[in-house]
């Protein structure tokens, strides 16, 4: 029994929560111990542990990576990090055009 649903999840219709942000998180990869605390608590599930070649240089072979597309800049990740590897930086000039996503740029053009 397959029923066509009137509203389906479509990624391109998602609200652009990335432009809510005033601050953005930055991971200090040399400090990161890949404990996964930020991954668990991130309300937008933006963070994942990267175990690719690049990350092998770090202590545990894994490192937290943050995808800023939907990040609202709440700062939970920086708060829960046990080794203070994540710091929050201010978006220059508020949330300027450069950090805004494609969708918004198209609108303003």
């Amino acid at each position: 029994m397959e029923i066509e649903h009137p509203v389906q999840h479509k990624k391109e219709k998602a609200m652009d929560t990335g432009n809510w942000r005033n601050h953005y998180p930055v991971v200090d990869e040399s400090k990161c111990i890949a404990c996964g605390n930020c991954v668990k608590y991130c309300p937008e599930a933006c963070i994942f542990l990267d175990d690719s070649e690049k990350a092998e240089a770090s202590k545990s072979g894994k490192v937290a990576k943050i995808d800023l597309e939907f990040c609202k800049g709440c700062g939970v990740c920086a708060q829960v990090c046990p080794v203070n590897a994540i710091s929050m930086r201010t978006e220059e000039g508020g949330n300027n055009n450069e950090t805004k996503s494609k969708k918004d740029k198209e609108k303003t053009n």
């Binding site: 668990k40 599930a45 939907f70 709440c74």
Partner: protein, 305 residues
């Protein structure tokens, strides 16, 4: 993007920055082995995740009205049971309700009770942010004593909300559930463990989880602090972590030296007025109440049946 955690619930929803509700939803759904159907009561989660034409849900989702999440789930679960009996469905499906404290403590209490009484195999997850947050912070049955809410404002002469929160765990326990537990979003591993147990208990009947969800917007603390405030709630014994399995209580985390409740109150601006010297008595009263409840809980955990 975290592939595993966004499998069922995608970002792009409009919950406030620093809200823990999506974390609860993702970790609960991540523990389910089978396909899930989500039933949602009106509340923060519903209004933020289903802004037309977008839906953050990648699983089948039904929202009906504020008061009838339990009744809706009963219907859906019964339909599934009958179709399975007639062999029109062969999949194993789990049913999960997400409801806020307004839709559980106050408005949806009768439909929750009906659902539990009839024994529908549904997991009810209540994210408890202690008020009606998406409509501006009115008090609910879950609002703690002394909180400054829009319908119980604190002033020079008034301390705000003058009732203690309902003990929902006891109300639900009265339905003789196989498994119910009180969890906290700040202790995700504990929440996941409890969810796993709850899904196992679904084979016999309904299960219930009560999860504390600190609200950055109305409790008034910085957006980065939901984990910190949640941890303090447990460390002060305001929100003990325990589970009830076949009417047997088990405390999951015993705090050696509980912190005084002021530590918790001073992190939130909704309790700011209680920290004035003339309100010291109120704080003592709250502390006394917490101690009393904790001692009762210890006694309950001692008797095993």
């Amino acid at each position: 993007m975290n592939e595993q955690l966004t499998k069922n619930f995608y970002p792009g929803h409009a919950t406030c920055a620093g809200c823990g509700i999506p974390a609860i939803v993702r970790h609960v759904l991540d523990e389910a082995d089978d396909s899930v159907v989500v039933i949602n009561a009106t509340g923060c989660l519903e209004v933020t995740s289903t802004l037309y034409p977008y839906t953050a849900w990648k699983v089948p989702y039904i929202h009906n009205a504020f008061e009838n999440a339990g009744a809706t789930a009963s219907g859906v679960e019964t339909a599934y049971r009958i179709l399975k009996k007639k062999k029109k469905i062969d999949k194993d499906i789990k049913f999960v309700i997400f409801a806020g404290d307004g839709g559980t403590y106050d408005i949806g209490l009768q439909s929750l009770s009906g659902m539990l009484e009839r024994g529908h195999k549904v997991l009810y997850v209540n994210y408890d942010n202690e008020g009606y947050m998406n409509t501006g912070g009115q008090r609910s049955g879950a609002t703690p004593y002394g909180a400054n809410m829009t319908t119980t404002p604190a002033s020079e002469t008034d301390i705000g909300n003058k009732t203690f929160r309902k003990d929902l765990m006891e109300i639900v326990k009265g339905h003789h559930l196989e498994y119910l537990a009180q969890a906290n979003v700040a202790y995700i591993e504990d929440l996941r463990k409890k969810t796993k147990k709850a899904f196992q208990a679904l084979e016999k009947g309904p299960a219930f989880l009560l999860v504390l969800q600190p609200c950055t917007n109305v409790w008034k603390f910085p957006t980065s602090d939901y984990v910190k405030v949640g941890k303090l709630a447990t460390e002060t014994n305001f929100w003990p972590l325990y589970e009830i399995e076949k009417d047997n209580y088990k405390i999951n985390l015993k705090i050696e030296n509980p912190k005084p409740i002021e530590e918790y109150l001073k992190t939130q601006r909704r309790f700011k007025h209680l920290l004035r010297p003339e309100n010291q008595e109120v704080v003592n009263y709250i502390q006394e109440n917490i101690n009393q409840r904790w001692n009762k809980l210890l006694k309950k955990a001692e008797c095993q049946f």
